[in-house]
Symmetry: C2
Subunit: 149 residues, 2 copies
DNA sequence: GTAATTGCAAATACTTTGCCACGTA
DNA sequence: TACGTGGCAAAGTATTTGCAATTAC
């Protein structure tokens, strides 16, 4: 997909991708990108909206955030994360990185874990066995964190 | 948790668990249980409602299904499955079984896969490394199935 | 008989869309 | 200037709750 360099994602490189797609770079969009990059964890649209608003000139409407994230999702620049909550959460989706999460059932804290992906092999085997192609996966661990009773 | 026998889940054994919790067994609830057991895949509340209604005497209101599933979720008798759709899907959660899914991005078909769980070990390592306890996980594979273009 | 369960309807929450004014390139 | 973008408000969809009537035990 896309015409992307092999460099890791940064606000700048993602901005460049958007520009190449013919999209316009506005204050709101800059704010939204900053918000996504600053946060180390998946964010709801609400969270993205308010975080974005702390950046110069940015005060995106909720609908604006919604449409921007929709756009970025289509371009595989962000992806949705399943936190078992009542609304959707998103995070930057660097194609070179791997995103599995550890979520506290009690306080809701979310940790991005970096394990050597126990899934890669299974993915290939499953593709063969079930005749599916173009596989990806979503893996979340749920538990109770050290600071919760 | 609970005072459960080691036998696999059946409508009867789950009914027994509910009874022990002091809950009353009604036609609606029987219908909902039947629906969950008959279906081999995760169901939305809508689907559960209409499937339940095909059982003798059962015509549960949507709210009734909602409350019943909520209850069963608390008792760990069902769990939510992340199908990346706009509403929640649930399935029976037999503690002796393992639930990972393979979902077609194109036609939406859902397959319950039974692989030797590549996660079990990782789960223990993660528990140690991050100080979490009582770990469980949610794993879904997404791809395009053999019959889709 | 008593307390749990249910249907109905209303409230809430999140998501999605239409439209026109506005700003970027 | 031209067209993508953004705010506002309304519509759509799923979830959740209150309450009185009903039912299991």
């Amino acid at each position: 997909m896309m015409n992307r360099t092999e460099a890791a994602f940064t606000p700048e490189s993602v901005t460049e991708i958007l520009r190449r797609e013919g999209l316009r770079i506005t204050c709101n969009r800059r704010g939204i990108l900053q918000a996504l990059f600053k946060s180390g964890r998946p964010m709801s649209l609400q969270e993205i909206q308010s975080a974005a608003s702390s950046h110069e000139g940015a005060h995106p409407d909720y609908a604006t955030v919604f449409r921007m994230i929709l756009l970025m999702e289509k371009l595989h620049l962000v992806h949705k994360v399943n936190l078992q909550r009542s609304c959707s959460y998103y995070e930057i989706s660097d194609p070179r990185k791997h995103y599995d999460h550890l979520i506290c059932r009690s306080c809701g804290s979310v940790v991005l874990i970096d394990i050597p992906c126990p899934i890669g092999d299974a993915e290939k085997r499953i593709a063969q066995q079930y005749g599916f192609r173009d596989l990806s996966h979503s893996l979340e661990f749920f538990g109770v964190c050290a600071t919760c009773p």
